[in-house]
Protein backbone atom coordinates (compact mmCIF):
# COMPACT_ATOMS: atom_id res chain seq x y z
CA UNK A 1 0.00 0.00 0.00
CA UNK A 2 1.26 3.45 -0.87
CA UNK A 3 2.28 5.62 2.05
CA UNK A 4 2.51 9.28 1.03
CA UNK A 5 4.54 10.01 4.12
CA UNK A 6 7.10 7.42 3.12
CA UNK A 7 7.22 8.94 -0.35
CA UNK A 8 7.91 12.38 1.12
CA UNK A 9 10.58 10.93 3.37
CA UNK A 10 12.24 9.21 0.40
CA UNK A 11 12.28 12.50 -1.48
CA UNK A 12 13.66 14.48 1.43
CA UNK A 13 16.47 12.22 2.62
CA UNK A 14 18.69 11.11 -0.23
CA UNK A 15 19.92 7.85 1.26
CA UNK A 16 16.33 6.75 1.96
CA UNK A 17 15.31 7.09 -1.70
CA UNK A 18 14.63 3.37 -2.01
CA UNK A 19 14.01 2.55 1.63
CA UNK A 20 11.25 0.28 2.88
CA UNK A 21 9.65 0.58 6.32
CA UNK A 22 11.28 -2.59 7.63
CA UNK A 23 14.78 -1.64 6.54
CA UNK A 24 17.32 -1.35 9.31
CA UNK A 25 18.78 2.16 9.36
CA UNK A 26 22.14 0.74 10.33
CA UNK A 27 22.22 -1.30 7.15
CA UNK A 28 21.40 1.61 4.84
CA UNK A 29 24.51 2.87 3.10
CA UNK A 30 24.97 6.54 3.86
CA UNK A 31 22.68 6.70 6.91
CA UNK A 32 24.89 9.13 8.78
CA UNK A 33 24.86 12.42 10.64
CA UNK A 34 23.99 14.29 7.44
CA UNK A 35 21.01 12.01 6.86
CA UNK A 36 19.87 12.72 10.42
CA UNK A 37 20.06 16.46 9.71
CA UNK A 38 18.08 15.99 6.50
CA UNK A 39 15.40 14.11 8.43
CA UNK A 40 15.20 16.79 11.15
CA UNK A 41 14.93 19.51 8.50
CA UNK A 42 12.23 17.54 6.65
CA UNK A 43 10.17 17.12 9.82
CA UNK A 44 10.30 20.83 10.55
CA UNK A 45 9.49 21.85 7.00
CA UNK A 46 6.78 19.31 6.25
CA UNK A 47 5.19 19.00 9.67
CA UNK A 48 6.40 21.86 11.85
CA UNK A 49 7.83 19.29 14.24
CA UNK A 50 11.30 19.86 15.65
CA UNK A 51 12.85 16.58 16.68
CA UNK A 52 15.89 16.17 18.86
CA UNK A 53 19.02 14.27 17.89
CA UNK A 54 18.41 11.51 20.50
CA UNK A 55 14.87 10.97 19.19
CA UNK A 56 16.22 10.29 15.73
CA UNK A 57 19.24 8.30 16.83
CA UNK A 58 16.97 6.01 18.87
CA UNK A 59 15.26 4.85 15.68
CA UNK A 60 16.24 1.39 14.49
CA UNK A 61 14.16 0.94 11.34
CA UNK A 62 12.69 3.27 8.75
CA UNK A 63 9.25 2.72 10.25
CA UNK A 64 10.54 4.20 13.52
CA UNK A 65 11.30 7.42 11.66
CA UNK A 66 7.81 7.42 10.20
CA UNK A 67 6.37 6.93 13.67
CA UNK A 68 7.91 10.23 14.75
CA UNK A 69 5.85 12.11 12.18
CA UNK A 70 2.36 13.34 13.05
CA UNK A 71 -0.39 11.63 11.05
Amino acid sequence: MNDPELDRLRAAVDVLAEAAPDDLLGSIRGWDSLAVLMFISHCEHAHGVILTGPQVRACVRVRDLLALLPR
Partner: protein
Amino acid sequence: MHSSLSHFRIAGLAVTTGSVERDFIADGLAAGLERAQLERVAAAVGLRRRLVAADGVTALDLCEDAARRLLDALEVDASSIDAVVFVTQTPDHPQPNNASLLHGRLGLSKAALSFDLSHGCSGWVYGLHQAALLCAHGGAARVLLCAGDTLSRLTNRDDRSIDPIFGDAGSAALVERTGLAEPWHFVFGTDGSGARLISVPAGGARLPVTESTCVVHRDPDGHARHDGNLRMDGAAVMAFALREVPGAVRSVLAAAGWERPDACAFHQANRFVLTSVVRAAGLDPATVPMDLAERFGNQSSCSVPTVLASALAARLAEGPVRLLACGFGVGLSWAAAAGVVGPAVCPPVLPFPRP
Protein backbone atom coordinates in the same frame (compact mmCIF):
# COMPACT_ATOMS: atom_id res chain seq x y z
CA MET B 1 15.67 39.98 25.94
CA HIS B 2 14.51 42.77 23.68
CA SER B 3 16.46 46.00 23.40
CA SER B 4 16.22 49.13 21.28
CA LEU B 5 19.10 51.56 20.90
CA SER B 6 19.53 54.68 18.81
CA HIS B 7 22.06 57.44 18.14
CA PHE B 8 24.76 55.23 16.64
CA ARG B 9 25.80 54.06 13.21
CA ILE B 10 28.17 51.57 11.61
CA ALA B 11 30.65 53.76 9.74
CA GLY B 12 32.51 50.88 8.14
CA LEU B 13 33.66 47.32 8.47
CA ALA B 14 36.64 45.25 7.30
CA VAL B 15 37.38 41.54 7.34
CA THR B 16 40.70 39.74 7.15
CA THR B 17 40.76 36.00 6.58
CA GLY B 18 43.32 33.31 7.11
CA SER B 19 45.64 32.73 4.16
CA VAL B 20 45.82 28.94 3.93
CA GLU B 21 43.31 27.36 1.57
CA ARG B 22 41.82 24.01 2.49
CA ASP B 23 39.73 21.97 0.07
CA PHE B 24 37.02 19.69 1.47
CA ILE B 25 37.27 17.05 -1.24
CA ALA B 26 41.07 16.98 -1.38
CA ASP B 27 41.37 16.79 2.41
CA GLY B 28 38.81 14.01 2.54
CA LEU B 29 40.54 11.99 -0.15
CA ALA B 30 43.83 12.42 1.70
CA ALA B 31 42.10 11.06 4.81
CA GLY B 32 41.11 7.95 2.86
CA LEU B 33 37.42 8.76 2.35
CA GLU B 34 35.42 7.86 -0.75
CA ARG B 35 35.00 10.57 -3.36
CA ALA B 36 31.31 9.78 -3.88
CA GLN B 37 30.52 10.28 -0.20
CA LEU B 38 32.58 13.47 -0.09
CA GLU B 39 30.77 14.83 -3.14
CA ARG B 40 27.43 14.02 -1.51
CA VAL B 41 28.30 15.91 1.67
CA ALA B 42 29.86 18.79 -0.27
CA ALA B 43 26.75 19.21 -2.39
CA ALA B 44 24.23 18.81 0.41
CA VAL B 45 25.93 20.79 3.15
CA GLY B 46 27.87 23.28 1.11
CA LEU B 47 31.43 22.41 2.09
CA ARG B 48 33.97 23.32 -0.58
CA ARG B 49 36.77 25.67 0.32
CA ARG B 50 37.82 27.41 3.49
CA LEU B 51 40.59 29.71 4.55
CA VAL B 52 42.43 29.00 7.79
CA ALA B 53 45.10 30.95 9.60
CA ALA B 54 48.75 30.30 8.81
CA ASP B 55 50.95 28.94 11.58
CA GLY B 56 51.46 31.53 14.27
CA VAL B 57 48.64 33.81 13.13
CA THR B 58 45.88 34.41 15.68
CA ALA B 59 42.49 36.09 15.77
CA LEU B 60 44.23 39.11 17.28
CA ASP B 61 46.52 39.38 14.23
CA LEU B 62 43.60 39.05 11.83
CA CYS B 63 41.54 41.66 13.66
CA GLU B 64 44.50 44.02 13.90
CA ASP B 65 44.97 43.84 10.13
CA ALA B 66 41.26 44.46 9.59
CA ALA B 67 41.29 47.38 12.02
CA ARG B 68 44.29 49.05 10.40
CA ARG B 69 42.78 48.72 6.93
CA LEU B 70 39.44 50.04 8.14
CA LEU B 71 40.89 53.06 9.91
CA ASP B 72 42.97 53.85 6.82
CA ALA B 73 39.93 53.58 4.56
CA LEU B 74 37.87 55.81 6.85
CA GLU B 75 40.79 58.18 7.42
CA VAL B 76 40.13 57.97 11.14
CA ASP B 77 42.89 58.70 13.63
CA ALA B 78 43.25 55.76 16.02
CA SER B 79 43.68 58.16 18.92
CA SER B 80 40.03 59.19 18.53
CA ILE B 81 38.73 55.75 19.49
CA ASP B 82 37.08 55.67 22.91
CA ALA B 83 36.51 51.95 23.33
CA VAL B 84 37.52 48.53 22.02
CA VAL B 85 35.12 45.59 22.20
CA PHE B 86 36.79 42.34 21.14
CA VAL B 87 34.54 39.35 20.53
CA THR B 88 36.43 36.06 20.52
CA GLN B 89 36.64 32.61 22.03
CA THR B 90 40.18 32.10 20.80
CA PRO B 91 42.14 34.88 22.55
CA ASP B 92 45.92 34.97 22.48
CA HIS B 93 46.15 34.34 26.23
CA PRO B 94 43.97 33.73 29.30
CA GLN B 95 45.38 37.09 30.47
CA PRO B 96 45.55 39.84 29.31
CA ASN B 97 42.54 40.06 27.05
CA ASN B 98 42.73 40.63 23.31
CA ALA B 99 41.13 44.07 23.57
CA SER B 100 44.02 45.33 25.71
CA LEU B 101 46.57 43.75 23.41
CA LEU B 102 44.95 45.35 20.36
CA HIS B 103 44.77 48.66 22.22
CA GLY B 104 48.53 48.51 22.68
CA ARG B 105 49.24 47.48 19.09
CA LEU B 106 47.15 50.31 17.67
CA GLY B 107 48.47 52.86 20.14
CA LEU B 108 45.05 53.96 21.31
CA SER B 109 44.35 56.60 23.93
CA LYS B 110 44.92 55.66 27.57
CA ALA B 111 41.44 57.01 28.24
CA ALA B 112 39.94 54.21 26.12
CA LEU B 113 37.81 51.46 27.61
CA SER B 114 38.59 47.94 26.39
CA PHE B 115 37.20 44.52 27.08
CA ASP B 116 36.72 41.08 25.54
CA LEU B 117 33.34 39.51 25.03
CA SER B 118 33.33 35.71 25.02
CA HIS B 119 30.83 34.59 22.45
CA GLY B 120 31.00 32.61 19.23
CA CYS B 121 28.59 32.55 16.34
CA SER B 122 26.12 35.00 17.92
CA GLY B 123 28.98 37.20 19.11
CA TRP B 124 29.03 39.95 16.50
CA VAL B 125 25.46 40.96 17.29
CA TYR B 126 26.29 40.88 21.01
CA GLY B 127 29.31 43.06 20.30
CA LEU B 128 27.30 45.49 18.20
CA HIS B 129 24.84 45.83 21.07
CA GLN B 130 27.67 46.63 23.48
CA ALA B 131 29.21 49.12 21.09
CA ALA B 132 25.81 50.75 20.58
CA LEU B 133 25.28 50.96 24.34
CA LEU B 134 28.63 52.68 24.73
CA CYS B 135 27.70 55.21 22.06
CA ALA B 136 24.11 55.74 23.13
CA HIS B 137 24.59 55.79 26.89
CA GLY B 138 28.26 55.29 27.72
CA GLY B 139 29.90 58.47 26.59
CA ALA B 140 31.79 56.96 23.66
CA ALA B 141 31.91 58.71 20.31
CA ARG B 142 33.82 55.95 18.52
CA VAL B 143 33.95 52.26 19.35
CA LEU B 144 36.13 49.74 17.55
CA LEU B 145 34.21 46.47 17.44
CA CYS B 146 36.43 43.51 16.60
CA ALA B 147 35.22 39.94 16.20
CA GLY B 148 37.39 37.04 15.19
CA ASP B 149 38.21 33.43 15.83
CA THR B 150 40.58 30.68 14.79
CA LEU B 151 38.38 27.68 15.50
CA SER B 152 40.23 25.55 12.95
CA ARG B 153 42.96 25.29 15.60
CA LEU B 154 40.57 23.69 18.08
CA THR B 155 39.37 20.78 15.99
CA ASN B 156 41.07 17.41 15.70
CA ARG B 157 42.21 16.59 12.15
CA ASP B 158 40.79 13.09 12.62
CA ASP B 159 37.36 14.33 13.61
CA ARG B 160 35.63 14.47 10.25
CA SER B 161 32.35 15.44 11.93
CA ILE B 162 33.67 18.93 12.60
CA ASP B 163 37.20 19.50 11.28
CA PRO B 164 36.17 20.32 7.68
CA ILE B 165 33.79 23.06 8.76
CA PHE B 166 35.74 25.97 10.16
CA GLY B 167 37.60 28.86 8.61
CA ASP B 168 39.54 31.57 10.46
CA ALA B 169 38.98 35.31 10.20
CA GLY B 170 38.97 38.59 12.05
CA SER B 171 36.88 41.71 11.58
CA ALA B 172 36.79 45.31 12.67
CA ALA B 173 33.81 47.66 12.58
CA LEU B 174 33.75 51.29 13.58
CA VAL B 175 30.61 52.21 15.48
CA GLU B 176 30.03 55.94 15.96
CA ARG B 177 27.66 58.07 17.99
CA THR B 178 25.38 60.14 15.76
CA GLY B 179 22.39 62.39 16.03
CA LEU B 180 20.24 59.82 14.27
CA ALA B 181 17.30 58.85 16.41
CA GLU B 182 16.13 55.91 14.31
CA PRO B 183 16.57 52.91 16.59
CA TRP B 184 18.09 49.52 16.08
CA HIS B 185 16.22 46.61 17.60
CA PHE B 186 17.87 43.61 19.23
CA VAL B 187 16.58 40.25 20.41
CA PHE B 188 18.79 37.93 22.47
CA GLY B 189 18.31 34.49 23.94
CA THR B 190 20.25 31.86 25.83
CA ASP B 191 19.67 28.18 26.55
CA GLY B 192 22.39 27.19 28.97
CA SER B 193 20.88 23.73 29.34
CA GLY B 194 22.47 23.02 25.97
CA ALA B 195 25.85 24.48 26.83
CA ARG B 196 27.67 21.19 26.32
CA LEU B 197 26.36 20.69 22.78
CA ILE B 198 29.16 22.91 21.46
CA SER B 199 32.16 22.89 23.74
CA VAL B 200 35.86 22.60 24.39
CA PRO B 201 35.96 20.83 27.76
CA ALA B 202 39.63 21.33 28.70
CA GLY B 203 41.77 24.43 28.94
CA GLY B 204 39.86 26.48 31.50
CA ALA B 205 39.78 26.55 35.29
CA ARG B 206 37.34 23.62 35.53
CA LEU B 207 39.52 21.24 33.60
CA PRO B 208 43.06 22.52 33.08
CA VAL B 209 45.14 20.96 30.33
CA THR B 210 47.03 17.94 31.62
CA GLU B 211 48.57 14.88 30.07
CA SER B 212 45.26 13.05 30.47
CA THR B 213 43.20 15.72 28.71
CA CYS B 214 45.46 15.29 25.68
CA VAL B 215 44.67 11.59 25.30
CA VAL B 216 42.73 11.07 22.07
CA HIS B 217 39.51 9.03 22.18
CA ARG B 218 37.31 7.84 19.36
CA ASP B 219 33.53 8.15 19.54
CA PRO B 220 31.23 5.35 18.31
CA ASP B 221 31.32 6.84 14.80
CA GLY B 222 35.12 6.75 14.77
CA HIS B 223 35.70 10.49 15.15
CA ALA B 224 38.86 11.21 17.14
CA ARG B 225 39.29 14.05 19.65
CA HIS B 226 40.77 14.89 23.02
CA ASP B 227 39.34 17.08 25.75
CA GLY B 228 41.03 20.17 24.37
CA ASN B 229 39.30 19.77 21.00
CA LEU B 230 36.11 21.43 19.94
CA ARG B 231 33.15 19.09 19.64
CA MET B 232 29.59 19.69 18.47
CA ASP B 233 26.41 17.64 18.41
CA GLY B 234 25.30 18.62 14.93
CA ALA B 235 21.78 17.17 15.12
CA ALA B 236 21.05 18.82 18.45
CA VAL B 237 22.43 22.16 17.27
CA MET B 238 20.32 21.93 14.12
CA ALA B 239 17.23 21.30 16.26
CA PHE B 240 18.18 24.22 18.50
CA ALA B 241 18.55 26.55 15.53
CA LEU B 242 15.19 25.53 14.08
CA ARG B 243 13.55 25.89 17.50
CA GLU B 244 14.88 29.31 18.49
CA VAL B 245 16.14 31.35 15.56
CA PRO B 246 12.94 31.76 13.50
CA GLY B 247 11.10 33.20 16.51
CA ALA B 248 13.93 35.64 17.21
CA VAL B 249 13.90 36.76 13.59
CA ARG B 250 10.15 37.32 13.61
CA SER B 251 10.37 39.21 16.92
CA VAL B 252 13.08 41.58 15.80
CA LEU B 253 11.35 42.29 12.49
CA ALA B 254 8.11 42.99 14.36
CA ALA B 255 9.95 45.36 16.69
CA ALA B 256 11.37 47.17 13.68
CA GLY B 257 7.97 47.25 12.01
CA TRP B 258 9.38 45.66 8.87
CA GLU B 259 7.53 43.07 6.87
CA ARG B 260 10.84 42.13 5.33
CA PRO B 261 14.38 43.52 5.48
CA ASP B 262 16.29 44.75 2.44
CA ALA B 263 19.16 42.39 3.20
CA CYS B 264 20.14 39.74 5.70
CA ALA B 265 23.47 38.80 7.27
CA PHE B 266 23.10 35.42 8.94
CA HIS B 267 25.76 33.42 10.69
CA GLN B 268 27.14 31.12 8.01
CA ALA B 269 27.00 27.80 9.83
CA ASN B 270 26.73 26.00 6.51
CA ARG B 271 24.35 26.19 3.58
CA PHE B 272 22.22 23.25 4.71
CA VAL B 273 21.56 24.59 8.22
CA LEU B 274 21.08 28.11 6.95
CA THR B 275 18.63 27.09 4.25
CA SER B 276 16.54 25.24 6.80
CA VAL B 277 16.58 28.11 9.31
CA VAL B 278 15.77 30.77 6.72
CA ARG B 279 12.90 28.67 5.37
CA ALA B 280 11.53 28.17 8.89
CA ALA B 281 11.77 31.91 9.54
CA GLY B 282 9.69 32.62 6.46
CA LEU B 283 12.34 34.82 4.87
CA ASP B 284 12.86 35.17 1.14
CA PRO B 285 15.99 33.09 0.42
CA ALA B 286 16.93 35.58 -2.30
CA THR B 287 17.59 38.20 0.40
CA VAL B 288 19.91 35.94 2.40
CA PRO B 289 23.47 35.26 1.26
CA MET B 290 24.10 31.62 2.11
CA ASP B 291 27.25 30.65 0.25
CA LEU B 292 29.92 32.24 2.42
CA ALA B 293 30.74 29.02 4.28
CA GLU B 294 31.55 27.48 0.90
CA ARG B 295 34.10 30.20 0.21
CA PHE B 296 35.54 30.88 3.64
CA GLY B 297 34.31 28.17 6.03
CA ASN B 298 32.25 28.69 9.16
CA GLN B 299 34.01 31.68 10.72
CA SER B 300 32.20 31.72 14.06
CA SER B 301 31.99 35.31 15.37
CA CYS B 302 33.32 36.67 12.08
CA SER B 303 30.77 35.13 9.73
CA VAL B 304 28.19 37.92 10.00
CA PRO B 305 30.86 40.58 9.31
CA THR B 306 32.06 38.57 6.33
CA VAL B 307 28.57 38.63 4.83
CA LEU B 308 28.53 42.40 5.27
CA ALA B 309 32.02 42.97 3.89
CA SER B 310 31.69 40.66 0.90
CA ALA B 311 28.17 39.82 -0.29
CA LEU B 312 26.63 43.10 0.88
CA ALA B 313 29.60 45.47 0.60
CA ALA B 314 28.46 47.24 -2.57
CA ARG B 315 24.95 47.80 -1.23
CA LEU B 316 26.23 49.07 2.11
CA ALA B 317 28.55 51.48 0.31
CA GLU B 318 25.54 52.99 -1.44
CA GLY B 319 23.21 52.62 1.56
CA PRO B 320 20.95 52.96 3.38
CA VAL B 321 20.00 49.29 3.75
CA ARG B 322 17.46 47.91 6.21
CA LEU B 323 19.54 45.07 7.58
CA LEU B 324 18.67 41.98 9.56
CA ALA B 325 21.71 40.43 11.26
CA CYS B 326 21.46 37.13 13.09
CA GLY B 327 23.86 34.77 14.82
CA PHE B 328 23.34 31.53 16.72
CA GLY B 329 25.52 28.88 18.26
CA VAL B 330 27.70 28.20 21.28
CA GLY B 331 26.07 28.92 24.62
CA LEU B 332 23.62 27.97 23.36
CA SER B 333 22.86 31.52 22.37
CA TRP B 334 21.15 33.47 19.64
CA ALA B 335 20.98 37.13 18.73
CA ALA B 336 19.17 39.10 16.06
CA ALA B 337 19.37 42.78 15.19
CA ALA B 338 17.42 44.99 12.79
CA GLY B 339 18.62 48.42 11.82
CA VAL B 340 19.64 50.68 8.98
CA VAL B 341 23.22 50.54 7.70
CA GLY B 342 24.95 52.67 5.15
CA PRO B 343 26.45 54.37 3.47
CA ALA B 344 29.28 52.41 5.09
CA VAL B 345 32.85 51.82 4.00
CA CYS B 346 33.80 48.18 3.47
CA PRO B 347 37.37 47.59 2.26
CA PRO B 348 37.86 44.34 0.33
CA VAL B 349 38.09 41.07 2.22
CA LEU B 350 41.78 40.12 2.16
CA PRO B 351 43.89 37.30 3.56
CA PHE B 352 46.66 37.81 6.11
CA PRO B 353 49.48 37.61 5.52
CA ARG B 354 49.01 38.85 1.99
CA PRO B 355 50.46 36.69 -0.83
